[in-house]
């Protein structure tokens, strides 16, 4: 059971709890059950009772302070799915009972240049309120409370036990693919994991000629079942040599483990091509670097992408629904959250861990 209390979420007994979270009291520690009551709901907020939620490695990076120091207790989690059970007075777009999802972004101001231009995920005006998983409580809980603005209606045709990872992994790959989409482009997805397997599906469904690049030769059939037209084993020098300068777009969904590996990946880009980066490794990890000569004389670009705007989320949900694009998930019960988290942190889930909340809010009270 949790012992460290968060300033906003009163730690209470199980019987008194409105909700239950899994909290971390320090880096590299086990999650502890945190029964709590919410602060009063604000006029622009909704409270969600989750049906399922997803786990993302970013949550591990945050908890373990791989990027920056954080305050504890921490309840991360940002692949949220559930029904609206409470809403503030100003919320008109949702009714109690609506099925909604949420991702990494908690709030945006709506007035700054970035918001107005449609890049509201990048809004820098909201300080501590910018991201869902911290410093407020995020999705590793039976309930989440956050601005309705960043809740997305989820059609009931998407299987709920598969939907949560779309709200982070899905949008993370969908948004840049759409942004750089061109029907004539050759696309390569590096890494067939949580992000990569969805990226192949989205890219192929968009109609781009999509190839998969992996360290594992045995993923070929699977990659092709997702729509990949070609499969390249990155540890095979012959296959890599054949693919030199082949791709207009490379979407990297896996971290290169050495500088040489990264440079080899960039060589697959056509002159003038775009290398899309979405995953941030620990800051101590090997730096992504390449010869100046290659960057300048081949005129290649490295472009970053951070989840997606609200508009891009709506489009992604519609697109996934229409093309039946769902992640491959491993399911865990809420009470076994620690097992799910450990699998993510230390194992190799295939490909996303999803926790079923079910009637945990009731059963945990006993």
């Amino acid at each position: 059971m949790a012992t460290k209390e968060h300033s906003l979420y009163k730690l209470v007994t199980k019987e008194q709890a409105e909700a239950f979270a899994w909290s971390f009291e320090g880096p590299n520690t086990e999650a502890l059950l945190y029964p709590f009551v919410f602060p009063p709901i604000q006029p622009h907020e909704v409270r969600i009772q989750q049906t399922y939620f997803g786990l993302c490695y970013t949550d591990c990076h945050l908890v373990n302070q791989d990027w920056f120091p954080i305050n504890y207790p921490s309840v991360p989690g940002h692949e949220i799915l559930g029904h609206v059970v409470m809403k503030g007075d100003q919320v008109t777009q949702f009714q109690i009972g609506d099925l909604v999802g949420a991702g990494f972004i908690r709030d945006s101001c709506g007035n700054c240049k970035l918001c107005i231009q449609g890049n509201d995920q990048l809004c820098g005006q909201k300080g501590d309120e910018h991201f869902i998983p911290l410093p407020k409580f995020g999705g590793f809980a039976t309930h989440v409370q956050f601005p309705a603005k960043w809740a997305f209606p989820i059609p009931n045709t998407i299987p709920q036990h598969l939907a949560p990872p779309l709200l982070c992994a899905g949008i993370t790959v969908f948004a840049p693919l759409k942004r750089y989409f061109n029907p004539n482009k050759e696309v390569a997805i590096i890494g067939i994991g949580g992000l990569g397997h969805l990226a192949i599906k989205f890219s192929a469904a968009m109609g781009m000629r999509t190839s998969a690049i992996s360290t594992s030769p045995d993923k070929e059939q699977e990659a092709k079942s997702y729509g990949a037209i070609d499969f390249i084993v990155s540890k095979n020098p012959e296959q890599m040599a054949k693919a030199l300068g082949r791709f207009d777009i490379i979407l990297s969904c896996a971290h290169a483990s050495t500088v040489e590996e990264f440079i080899d990946q960039t060589k697959l880009l056509k002159n003038g091509g775009d290398f899309i980066m979405v995953g941030i490794p620990a800051l101590t990890k090997v730096e992504l670097q390449l010869p100046f000569y290659s960057l300048v004389c081949r005129q290649i670009s490295f472009v970053g992408s951070l989840v997606g705007s609200r508009q891009e989320n709506y489009e992604m949900i519609e697109f996934a629904n229409k093309h039946k694009i769902y992640p491959t998930c491993e399911e865990y019960e809420f009470e076994n959250f620690k097992t799910a988290y450990d699998k993510l942190l230390n194992g190799r889930p295939k490909y996303r861990c999803v926790v079923k909340v079910g009637n945990a809010p009731q059963t945990l009270k006993q």
Binding site: N119, S294, V296, G304
Partner: protein, 368 residues
Amino acid sequence: MQQLPAHSVYLVQESKETADAVAYAFLSNTGEPVQYPYKYPNIADDDVRIRILFTGLCHSDCLHSRGLWDPYIKYPSCPGHEVVGEVEKVGTGVTKFKVGDKVGCNPQRWMCQTCELCKKGDNQLCSQNIGLYDDNNFGGYSTHIQVAERMVFRIPDGFNDALGSPLLCAGVTVYAPLKRYYKPNYTCAVIGIGGLGHLAVQYAAKLGMTVTAFTTSKNREQEIKKLGASNLSSSIDVESLKAEQGKYDIVINTLYIENEEVFKSHQRLTAPTGTYIQVGAPPSKVNFKLDHAYIILNQIRVAGSLIGNYDETQEMLEFSAQNNVYPIVETFEFEEFPKAFDRMEKAQAKFRCVVNVGKWAQANGLWK
């Protein structure tokens, strides 16, 4: 007169009397370039032979001629890829130009026009790209140059020939990416106010952007503001760079700075969804370290850029003439080529060296 070594293509002559042209060529990776009279073996159907009026000197010329790029470079070697001249002779199949036309050459000698990149318009990335000078071809350090018409540019009316030759490399190198990524009303950071940077400031300002010049030289404020910069800031002071973080929609970096913290601070000048353009490159095999966390969290583009394609080069020439964008140059006589090269090699030039080739060529009977 010393015995000059033969060249694989050009026919070396004993004196300029029998020559089609006189180059300044390097005979080894050290020492000064020397006069090298030569004849052309032929003029191909699509070739244009140009009387060079002015040649710009570019630091690439040093990197090439001193064997810093290719240690196996063949000598005699004649660099130079910033040429303004007029047509002296055309091959039988040439249709784009006629004798007397004012023309220019940029650092590219050939594009195939059939590969995917050429068809897309990015001929500077062509798989069969040949540089204006290499082991087989003499560049602009000469009274003449002969290039296929497809890579010859029309110099617009009203162009200042005496000042404009460096635009064919330095100019397009900054103009092309600025034009490619800019929007009017963008804020623009130009890092390094030297040969490339002082042109970037002018182009960025004329394109309507608000320009901040990042430099080490605070005492050049007036001069840099005259070029079009609204503000100056330090290019190497980390605290000062941090204060400018995230403010610039376009950052164009003409420098390479070894200090990692400073270099990352350059990338961090880029505003969310902005573009960082790298055009400066060090001579050795140094790596560019991507600030990946900043790139992803701010959704920026880090882009390399190489001169410009044919259309961008032509457009740059017109834009420069119309908007009066020219480099600040030091001009030398033809026989001062070694002196000009030395000044450029030592990075003392303010800001580009130009040789008045035409004056000597005409006076010495090379215009036949």
